[in-house]
Symmetry: C2
Subunit: 584 residues, 2 copies
């Protein structure tokens, strides 16, 4: 090997040993008759000393090394005179006896430091250099550890990792599929899986009982920040279980990962109904690290002659603690914020409950002071606080004020960022009605089981039917989600009906699953965790891209390898395809 | 949960306990006033007893259960009067107190038994039922264990599992790529990776030092038995190493897997030059569980007036021990065998060295007895043995007699099938000349390093240059292969030249890798193991298909889900594609 030790390994106890190290030249400096090189590898940095008096030729050679040259050093471990307590190897240095240049390097386009001078685009183009930075390496090492710990836990719990195919069949339901033309079957296409959903259900039909897979999934959706065309999930399924068993099992996994990776003990995860989450937090993934719950003040605010409220389905308010002193400018900024197209509110009403007990509001003209005081009381505001209210149709206003709540939590810095607040959100609606398309869509997916006590409402009050579906939310981020599946063929057929599948469509797309259900399907259910997001949560970052070795940009391009790219006419021909003229 | 125990768990010590089991009805039989049900799950089978005298209603219900019904049984564990020592649960039975039918089942199209009556095609169509069979489940459980043990070993050895992208760029070199049209970049395509080769090399440039990944790979090749369009490999790469380090590391992994999974201790793996493997075994993946090495008798056989030999480059012979008594019919069968198009020999020469010392041959007319005796002596044949000889050009004849050797090894049953004989084949040629295309092709891939001592021959004797490439062969099966890579940009450019890439082609296809090599690439190398094949080797099977949960057939079809399939006109349109008229 080109080394006896790594650059992060040697300690004072190794003094006197002759060693060989290989790595990259991080930096070098000349001090009188000495040259010091910081030699770097994945494991750390070790200082190398070249002494002009001892070996002038070697020292001259060292002085010509550029940044990122790859070198192999033979030398003796010595105690350092000028120790660096910040480095694991800071007590020693290597007095070089030989230097071999394994490879040269051009000057990198940005510095290979934790705080680099390279912009996002440049770093993505030279991702292989960006990946040399210690902060980035640590993110991928964290991801590796998470995968190892996940597999160890699930293996011990009797789960089998079973690989499912990547070349499968396209289904129009759900997000758009990436497709793969088949050369051997011209005119036909495979699809890349959006998830192994149907296969893991078939594995339950096969009796595998406890399945998992850390698996790549693909969605051809319009990209936005933190959405990649390919992503990884921890995909799990269990048979002979009920919802409670799944929540317990994967609460166990999550706690294990926090303990193993972050040495954090999590308490029992609270549970919250979807309806409560929407009412109190305006979100199906509430960040419960802080309160500031939503208050419905509709019956206090409506019918008092203020047209905006009177014409609204709901008036919702949150209490911003200690914000009564907010300036006009600050309130205007909040108003602008809620009016942004991403939020889409028409305006913002404030009620300042001043420290002196006086109430001031943007709607003083329309309401009596006593009425506004009543609002403050109903919302639990104390002197010094400010009420912020939005109005409109209930569902939209919930989401808007939920966003405002998150914004205020950030602005007031009341989210404990070193704290993890997990939460199970349960009892999601089974289907949502899409007025535009005039049909119901599955909220989770078409295989999700309705709650038994709601099945009688399937036809009469479809939108009210709740599902045996659940999400794991941590700090306002959806980490995982799943459901108990339908294992009854008749019920599955009825759900396809309600989702406006014709029998032929259902048969064509999911026939194999429905057929499988004729041969003794056990009760089963599962969950999938977004592994990219889980990694970034553990790393304390909001961006998933850093936790992917070779991510794609917002146009779905890998700018380093320059993909996608045109292919040969011969390749197209073999696939039986022609390109339409594209207007650029 | 729908059970307190699994069907493989209860023992005599559990007698008296009230338990709940869930599973599938394997079989049932009525015996006087009793009904016995064998209840099956992944973990085993437990006998359930229904007693007409105790509970007639329950027993009547049990008598109506069909095969593969899913049931939930509550009952008491009793010692069995009629114990079955072949079953782990054979000492006990459950006296049923309650029976809940969780799901019904149609009669399966084949029996769910180790020895099923279902043909290959039917089993693939109903793969979810085939996967219920214990023998099939055990294969996937073995695969799971192999993956877990591989990851544990490599993690402990400092390897990081890093996921590389599946949506990459098509390269015309090597096998044909599957491509994925990009909707966001019309007219452009991603390719699915044939291996993460370039990405793992980039990870070495990034300093990750020790990488692995159990990863899906894709090749759009014409399929044959044991070749799947998607397959899995254990992909590995190390930096700052030489060939010796890689062989040692992965010999260690292989030994660990044999010890861990099969409790087999393997001795140190012998090494064999590619040239020796071809000369002695006529194969680059010799099965060394038996001898029967190839002898070159060209100088004894040529120039004696037998035209067929005189016009051949080489005459090669093997000794079939104890076969002097082979009948005319047996020899004819061997002759037919070597003449099959898959082998392509023109004829077979035999020399029987009879037990009485007399030599008889198919070419008695052309050779003196003394000459034939000389052959026998040269090949080490003893009285009672038979010499089999083929002739022709050296390379072709080596392969043909190599095949004959394997055939005889099987026919004579001299391969120790319970023995594992690993072997490193080393010093492969760097390139092969393709006369048809009039150019050299990389034997391994274009990034493989020539042996330093052969570099001077690169331009003058290209085909003679040996590579730092190696294969791991076990029992005649290629399990893994790899090489030390080129890390020098100039040498890489020269290799691309010799492979007849223009600078533009090289830049377009591998520009990102060549650019990366300008920034301090360390010496590195790696290996990849075929994980499907490794699993089947460990399982003692010659078919990889059984070790894949959802395999494709020889036309690349998944007959269960019926993929590939046509896609919507709308989908095609979004991708900017039209189908050519296909003549069926």
């Amino acid at each position: 090997m080109h080394r006896t030790h790594t650059c992060g390994e040697l300690r004072i106890e190794d003094s006197g040993k002759t060693v060989i190290l290989s790595g990259w030249v991080q930096r070098s400096r000349d001090l009188g008759g000495m040259t010091f090189i910081d030699l770097r590898d994945r494991y750390g940095i070790t200082q190398i000393l070249f002494n002009m008096e001892v070996n002038a030729g070697l020292c001259e050679k060292a002085r010509k090394l550029g940044r990122e040259f790859v070198v192999k050093i033979t030398g003796k471990v010595n105690e350092r005179s000028n120790k660096n307590p910040k480095m694991h190897t800071g007590d020693i240095e290597i007095e070089a006896e030989n230097l071999e240049i394994l490879n040269v390097s051009k000057t990198p386009p940005f510095t290979i430091e934790d705080e680099t001078d390279g912009g996002e685009e440049l770093r993505m183009q030279y991702r292989y250099l960006d990946l040399r930075r210690n902060t980035v390496q640590q993110k991928l090492i964290l991801r590796h550890k998470l995968a190892i710990a996940t597999r160890a836990y699930l293996d011990k719990a009797g789960f089998l990792e079973i690989e499912t195919p990547y070349l499968i069949k396209s289904t129009p339901e759900g997000a758009r599929d990436f497709v793969v033309p088949s050369r051997m079957n011209p005119g036909e296409f495979y699809a890349l899986p959006q998830s192994p959903q149907t296969f893991k259900q078939l594995l339950m039909v096969s009796g595998f009982d406890r399945y998992f897979q850390i698996v790549r999934c693909f969605r051809d959706e319009d990209l936005r920040a933190d959405r990649q065309p390919e992503f990884t999930q921890i995909d799990c399924e269990m048979a002979f279980v009920e919802q409670e068993d799944i929540l317990n099992t994967f609460e166990g996994l999550t706690k294990h990962l926090f303990k193993e990776i972050l040495n954090t003990e999590l308490p029992a995860f609270p549970r919250m109904d979807y309806a409560v989450a929407m009412a109190k937090y305006g979100s199906d993934k509430p960040d419960i690290r802080f309160g500031m719950e939503i208050n419905d003040i509709s019956n206090l605010a409506k019918g008092k002659g203020f047209q905006v409220f009177d014409n609204s389905e709901a008036v919702l308010a949150i209490v911003a603690e200690g914000c009564a002193e907010y300036s006009r400018k600050q309130v205007d900024a909040l108003t602008d914020w809620v009016k942004r197209p991403q939020i889409g509110a028409k305006g913002l009403v404030y009620v300042k409950y001043q420290g002196d007990g006086i109430v001031k509001s943007s709607i003083d003209k329309f309401f009596e002071v006593e009425q506004l005081e009543e609002w403050c009381k109903a919302c639990g505001a104390k002197p010094g606080d400010m009420l912020l209210a939005l109005s409109g149709d209930l569902a939209t206003t919930q989401k808007q004020i939920g966003e405002l709540r998150l914004h205020m939590g950030k602005e007031l810095n009341i989210r404990n960022t070193s704290h993890f607040a997990p939460l199970w959100v349960v009892d999601f609606p089974l289907m949502e009605y899409d007025a535009e398309e005039g049909r119901h869509f599955a909220m989770h997916h078409p295989f999700t089981s309705p709650k038994p006590e709601d099945i009688h409402k399937l036809e009469t009050a479809t939108s009210e039917v709740r599902a045996n579906a659940y999400d794991l939310v941590i700090n306002g981020v959806e980490i995982g989600g799943g459901s108990i599946r339908i294992h009854d063929k008749e019920l599955q057929a009825k759900i396809f009906d309600l989702l406006a599948f014709t029998r032929e469509e259902a048969q064509q797309q999911f026939g194999f699953l429905m057929n499988a259900f004729e041969y003794g399907a056990p009760p089963h259910g599962g969950i999938a965790f977004g592994f990219d997001r889980l990694s970034s949560l553990f790393g304390g970052s909001e961006s998933i891209r850093d936790y992917i070795a070779f991510p794609k940009n917002n146009s779905g391009r890998d700018v380093m390898i320059d993909a996608p790219a045109p292919i040969d006419a011969k390749q197209l021909d073999e696939l039986g395809l022609t390109l339409k003229k594209v207007e650029k």
